[in-house]
Structures are given as structure tokens and as C-alpha cells.
Symmetry: C2
Amino acid sequence: MTMKFCSHCGLDRLEIRIPEGDTLSRFVCANCGTIHYQNPKIVVGCLPEWDGQVLLCRRAIEPRHGLWTLPAGFLENGETLPAGAIRETLEEANARVALGDLYTVISLPQINQVYMMFRARLEDVDFRPGAESLDVRLFDERDIPWEALAFRTIARTLRNWFLDRKSGVFPLRLSDLSRRPPVPPDLLGAA
Amino acid sequence: MTMKFCSHCGLDRLEIRIPEGDTLSRFVCANCGTIHYQNPKIVVGCLPEWDGQVLLCRRAIEPRHGLWTLPAGFLENGETLPAGAIRETLEEANARVALGDLYTVISLPQINQVYMMFRARLEDVDFRPGAESLDVRLFDERDIPWEALAFRTIARTLRNWFLDRKSGVFPLRLSDLSRRPPVPPDLLGAA
């Protein structure tokens, strides 16, 4: 978030500069000297499985209202990664899961996020949409709404999972997602 | 960090309360309505190996000035996890590493951090202390200064690594570190 005022002294004398002994630009208050560090956030969630099907939530909030996602959200202060994944699944799908291994870890440097998705098994099928979901459903692989997924991180996690399921081995999948490079105009619409 | 003034409007009318539709307490500005979310930070680093020895840095900064640590620090905005681990190793030890797998992931809910440590191999032994280090050295297992390590996350990562090295298999180690429970007075000093 862009800062207009120093949260320590309240004045509007913030500068963007490299503090002494540092190597990166920060918001620095020219009045009181406070350095306001900003760091990436963790998005934590899981891939809940039930009898070969995967649970997806249809988003009732922006961004990507109406598109489908795995239950996930920002890790909160005071929370462990597994606790965050379980909480998000309960909030978005009213679903209880037994959490498995950490499965995908995806850096998104352009939006200052790191996704961390666990494998999970639903404990029952007594789920229903939470306040942030329009719908919650179980999908077979052939029915996954690939064209209506909310985020590339979710598509990648699902693709990896269906591939790894063939072998029954689910190694940790560490990767990055960068902004798509612009498509040259003469290639737009090409096959 | 505790906020005194709203960084959006500059007034000192921040309240700690649960915003509508939320479940957790946040800093909320009673003047402009801005909700100031605060989330855990990622500490990223690596365990640099060279011919069976491990590189440690002696801290020149607080906290834990004078104690030994693996190269690690806060992931920066705009950075991927591997890039952060490589940067921290260069900054603290002037050391270049080939990064391996993600190895330990440790939630520290009481201080709102998640440690993420990679395995790594030094590319050469032309290292020297960076501005935040007093000393940088390679240690055999028997010489690790266990009583002078800076953080429990670092001790755990090293212990796991020396154990896993015996089998040559280094699975992802996901865990939590909670505040130590207070020791009952009658147990203090007990064997």
C-alpha cells in the first residue's frame, strides 16, 4: 500500500529513498526518521480432495468475482501455515480438512505475494459456501472449469496435482510466476 | 509495528477493532475508514555447504549480536524466494551459492515470521564478512557453536541437516516454533 503519512509521527514528509546501510528504496519519514519496510505477504491454502474429486470455491468477492479457486487467503499474524490453510478452508467453504504435505510454493514478485498450498483431505462432505463464496463444489478432473479459474497459481497447483496423481508421488513444487510479457501485436490472434 | 497515526489520512484516530465482515482485530481509522492489515513476514536464507562443511556468519547487528547464524533475512517486495536466499548470502557473507531444494519451513506465530531455508552449495571459498557480519567461517559438524547460535530456527535447520545427511535424503521439514512455556520455579536448575 502507498503511504501518504508517517504512521509513527503523522506528518506527510515521507520520502522514497535508500536508508543509510541499506540497498533498497524504502518509505522514510523526513521528520522522525522512521523507516517503513514493506514485505511480501503469504497466501496460504489447500487442495481438498474427496474420493478423487477436488473442492473448488466460486468467488463472491473481488478480485475475480464469479471465478473458481481453491480455498486460500492471507496468512494472519499469530498463525502457523497449517492453521492458516485450515482456517481459510473453513471460512470459504465451511469445510473441515485433514492437512497433508506442503505441495506448491509459488513466488509472485510482481504483486509481492508467495502462495503456499497444502494437500488436504476433506473430513466430510458437509460443506457450503462461506461469506466470500457464491458456490462450493466437488469436481472430477474432466469437469474442472479451467477457463474460469481465478488465479494462475490455482491453475498451476491443480495441473501439477492431476499430473502427480498418476504416479502417486507429490514432490514439493517450487516455482515463480512473473507477469506475462506483452504479446507483439502481429502475434495477437495467431494460432 | 504499532501504528500511532493513519498512514492514509494522517490523523491519530486509529482503533483496534474487528471490521464488518472480518473475524480478526485490525487497526482501523475512525476518520477515513482505512483498514491497516498486518501480516507475517518471510525470512529466507540457505544452508551453504562446501565439502561437508557449513558456512555460518557471526552477527554484527542486533538482535543476537555476536552469535552465529546461517545467511538469512527478510524477503523483499519484488523478489522470488530463491532470489532472496541468494541475495542474503551475498550480502552477509559475500558468498555465491548454487541453490538447491527448499528444506526447512518454520512458522513462528508469536513473532509473525515464517522461516524458509534452502539447501545450497558454495560456488567458491572466496567469501568474507558483509556489513552485517563480524566473521564468516566454514564449520565441521563437530565444531558447530551450538551454544552460540543466534536463533532456534537456525539450530533446528542445522540439526535436521546433519541428521538427514546420514541418509542422504533431505525431505522438506515443515514445523512450528512456539514461545517456550515458562519453567516452573521448582524445576529451574533441575537435571
